[in-house]
């Protein structure tokens, strides 16, 4: 029956899922009742719904029983509403949205207008997932046969794609606006003859220091009257011709940020056409370049300053350009100190052409590297050979090759800065050489060196120093070193250091005990070094093993001591000899003489002539012996006697001598001619002895029968004027001359006559002991003087004495 009845309802004949479900459903338990009872209006409506491809839904009757078509079915999603809500009252089917939809439904039921909801988001499950779907839908009334509203038809239209497209459009417009708004370029669009800004982005507003609400919509030159003179003709030109205007670094005076200031802009005024027609306005794109213009100005300025700095710098500088190192410029210091060439020989030429000697050196390679890598190159104390006009010279240079960059980052040249440190290097080399030399000397001299830190008391010894102190050459602490010091010498050392604190110099000799038990004498010398405040900070010095010298010195000392003792003994013996000769020898002699004189007096009448003659001969011999003893004594005293110099008037001394020799002078009839003999520093008794002997000599060697004339003169003369080679030229001498008219002598004997016991004549001819002139010579020597004798046989002799004063 059922199938039969179904087949009877044409409006449910569709083959869709919902047509089938609706047809097969048992509607008898629902408010609308079995299908046969359905009014025609319902049937018609359902027929439309089920055959429509638009999603449709129907609420029918007072209970609002639900119907829907296949197109609507996906809207029910995965919930278990489908197919259960078919035939269910709306309130039960949509409890979750009932409050929202019931007013709309009621409005429609109450005879109101159909509702319209556009682009509502109603996600549905389809294509295997939940999709956001936009719908435009309406609730429209469905009348029954009586013309009364019996149901609400919901017709839906999916607008997802339209919404998405619109959204995209909106998004892109929004993005564009944002881009324009946020563009780092100032952008504004000016419309019409009054150039009214339609919009202006933030950058532009910032450039002109205006707020959007003050700027947009007002004629441009009301907002910016200060730019009218510059800008208006340009804008008009664009409006009139329709050609864009481009300006770079256009200088404009702007009132902004509370002051008038000069600004520079890169500008584009582009005509703006509505729909490709006439020019409606101008798109303005502006970039402010004030800073970079300023910077470039500054750069130019600083470049000029730089050039002038280079030229005036006392440090040699030059600039090479290009791969051939063309010398672009160089300062005076470079020309004069390093290159020693004329400017005209160099500027504009290639460096390696001007200085071919560089090719052999490392510099071309370094230059090339700086050019290619763009990295600066510095070097210290680099040896360089440069051939200037005054010859080839070797320098030591601190130098820098600094790349010069173009604006595109390429290296176009090299700036070279040079500091001549030849002197410094030479000085250091000299010091180093000296140090090495010193090291060799120290090594050769077998000195050990040491350094003592006065603060920490740390001592550092050279290897040899350690060896000398007996530490087997192993480094040792100061306390360890002191353990090697001989205990008896601790005080000597301490005293030396005390003294060094005062004088700054250390010197002492002490014994060190080596590990092998041997004892070594060590000479320690040191010099204190002070800080700026005069505080001793360090002592440096040397040690030297002086054991050998020391033992040699001690041996020498012992020998000297021995010799001294021997000499003292000999001296004493000599003294006693002198005494013996003066006293013990003279005494018996004197007695012989005295007794002979007694005999000759008393016994004269008892003696024969020959006896008397014999006694006289004895007396004469005794007299000779007495003279001999006295002369010898005088000679030995002249050697040993104390030499006390005092100022003496030689005239007086001569007078005394003449008194002493009164008898001899008288007997010989000698005449003494004496000039002023002056005053000198002398040993008076010796000087007297000398005069005595010289006068005696002249009298003794007088020519028989000729009156002796003795001439004595004196003067002070400069050594250089005296023509005696032994005399010092710049010294003054007392020159005493004693001249006689005696027998003289042959000049070949002029030295011999001063020797002891040298006699030129027989005893019987001239009396004399041969000691007198030796004594004279000795005395002259005691006065640090010299004596010369000149003579000729029978023409007299002259003795010249020169005593330094």
């Amino acid at each position: 029956m059922c199938a039969k009845s179904v087949n009877n309802f044409q409006f449910l004949s569709g083959s869709g899922e919902m047509a089938t479900l609706t047809r097969k459903k048992d509607w008898s338990g629902t408010p609308v009742g079995p299908i046969e009872t359905w009014p025609q209006s319902l049937r018609t409506t359902i027929g439309i719904i089920l055959s429509s491809k638009f999603p449709m839904f129907l609420w029918w009757g007072p209970e609002l029983t639900c119907f829907y078509n296949d197109a609507y079915r996906p809207s029910l999603g995965q919930q278990d509403k489908h197919p259960s809500i078919l035939g269910m009252p709306a309130k039960e089917a949509w409890p979750e949205i009932w409050d929202t939809i019931s007013p709309l439904i009621n409005q429609v039921l109450a005879g109101g207008e159909a509702t319209w909801s556009a682009d509502q988001l109603i996600p549905i499950y389809r294509n295997g997932r939940l999709e956001d779907v936009y719908w435009t839908f309406s609730y429209s009334p469905v009348n029954d046969e009586n013309g009364k509203v019996a149901g609400v038809l919901v017709i839906c239209n999916e607008t997802t794609e339209a919404v998405a497209n619109r959204r995209k459009l909106e998004e892109s417009e929004r993005r564009f606006r944002n881009i324009v708004k946020q563009a780092p370029l100032g952008i504004t669009i000016l419309q019409g003859k009054d150039f009214i800004p339609l919009m202006a982005n933030d950058t532009y507003l910032q450039l002109v220091d205006k707020r959007e609400e003050d700027f947009v919509g007002r004629p441009l030159f009301q907002s910016l009257p200060e730019v009218r003179d510059v800008v208006e003709p340009l804008l008009n030109g664009v409006l009139d011709t329709g050609t864009p205007f481009y300006a770079t670094e256009l200088p404009v005076i702007l009132n902004r940020y509370g002051k008038k200031e000069a600004a520079s802009f890169n500008l584009v005024y582009h005509p703006y056409r509505e729909d490709g027609g006439t020019v409606e306005g101008i798109i303005v794109v502006a970039t402010e370049v004030t800073e970079s213009v300023k910077a470039r100005h500054k750069l130019t300025e600083s470049e000029m300053q730089f050039r002038s700095m280079v030229m005036q710098s006392p440090i040699p500088m030059t600039i090479f350009r290009g791969p051939d190192h063309v010398i672009e410029m160089a300062n005076t210091a470079m020309f004069e100190k390093i290159w020693r060439k004329k400017e005209s020989e160099i500027i504009g030429r290639r460096a390696l052409d001007v200085f071919p000697e560089l090719v052999e050196q490392k510099y071309p390679e370094l230059l090339r590297k700086v050019l290619t890598t763009g990295k600066a190159h510095q070097e210290l104390e680099s040896a360089a050979i440069v051939a200037g006009n005054d010859g080839v010279k070797k320098f030591y240079l601190d130098f820098e090759y600094a790349p010069l960059f173009e604006s595109d980052g390429s290296v176009s040249g090299i700036m070279i800065t040079v500091n001549d440190v030849t002197e410094r290097v030479a000085a250091r080399n000299r010091i180093k050489e000296n140090e090495e030399r010193l090291a060799v000397i120290i090594e050769d001299s077998e000195l050990g060196t040491w350094e003592l830190d006065m603060l920490t008391q740390e001592v550092v010894l050279s290897e040899r120093g350690l060896k000398i102190l007996g530490t087997d050459g192993k480094p040792a602490m100061r306390s360890e070193l002191l353990q090697h010091l001989h205990p008896d010498d601790l005080e000597v050392r301490a005293e030396a250091f005390r003294k060094a604190m005062e004088t700054g110099r250390l010197y002492y000799e002490s014994r060190f005990l080596w590990n092998d038990g041997s004892e070594h004498w060590v000479e320690s010398k040191g010099k204190m070094l002070y800080d700026n405040a005069g505080k001793p900070v360090k002592m440096i010095g040397t040690v030297r093993d002086v054991t050998e010298q020391k033992s040699f010195a001690r041996e020498l000392e012992r020998q000297v001591q021995q010799r001294t003792t021997e000499l003292e003994k000999m001296n004493a013996e000599l003294k006693s000899f002198a005494y013996v000769s003066s006293h013990d020898l003279q005494e018996p002699l004197r007695k012989i003489q005295t007794f002979i004189s007694r005999i000759l007096e008393r016994e004269e009448q008892n003696l024969s002539d020959s006896g008397k003659d014999s006694f006289r001969r004895i007396q004469s011999a005794a007299k000779r012996m007495q003279t001999l003893i006295e002369d010898l004594l005088t000679y030995s005293r002249t050697n040993t006697a104390e030499r006390r110099f005092e100022t003496a008037d030689i005239n007086k001394l001569l007078a005394q001598v003449k008194t002493d020799m009164h008898e001899e002078i008288l007997n010989s009839g000698a005449v003494i001619h004496a000039g002023d003999l002056l005053q000198i520093e002398t040993i008076p008794f010796q000087f007297k002895q000398m005069l005595h002997n010289l006068i005696g000599n002249s009298i003794k060697f007088a020519i028989e029968g000729v009156t002796p004339h003795i001439t004595i003169s004196a003067r002070i003369a400069l050594g250089s004027s005296l023509a005696i080679p032994q005399l010092a030229h710049d010294k003054k001498y007392y020159h005493l001359s004693v001249k006689d008219n005696g027998i003289g002598f042959d000049m070949q004997y002029r030295d011999k006559i001063f020797e002891v016991f040298q006699r030129l004549h027989g005893k019987s001819e001239y009396k004399g002991t041969g000691i007198g002139l030796a004594i004279v010579k000795k005395i002259v020597e005691n006065h640090a003087g010299i004596i010369t004798a000149a003579g000729e046989p029978d023409k007299g002799a002259t003795f010249d004495i020169y005593i330094p004063i």
């Binding site: 005494y579 003066s582 004197r590 003489q593 005295t594 006697a641």
Partner: protein, 148 residues
Amino acid sequence: MKREISNVLLADDDEDDRMLFAEAVAELPLNLKFTTVNDGEALMRFLVQCNGALPCVLFMDLNMPRKNGFECLKEIKRHEHLKQLSVVIYSTSYETGIVDQLRQEGAQYYLRKPSQFEQLKQVIYDTLTQIEKSDGVAPTSENFVIYS
């Protein structure tokens, strides 16, 4: 005021010299009391025992055993009563330094022993005459040595 010399003392260890001196004095035309002592110690003993009756002049050898002339001179010149005594040094040797030293130490004259007897007589006479004339006043250094 002149001083009459009446009493002469000789201190000398040499017998020959004592004899020669005695003979010389004896031959001089003077009335003299002449005494000799043989060494320094004897001399000092003698002088101390004199007790006020000192000789007028002492001729003294330097080189004497036991106590030499230098020591005796020092003692005499330091002694309260003896320092008035005129001391004449009578010696074989003659050495300037020693002569000066003796003069400074208070000797009145220096007399070197002559080698001729006649000379001896002469210098003794001269010395005594000088002392009488000098009246105790010390001679100048030039006159100190009477014979050398």
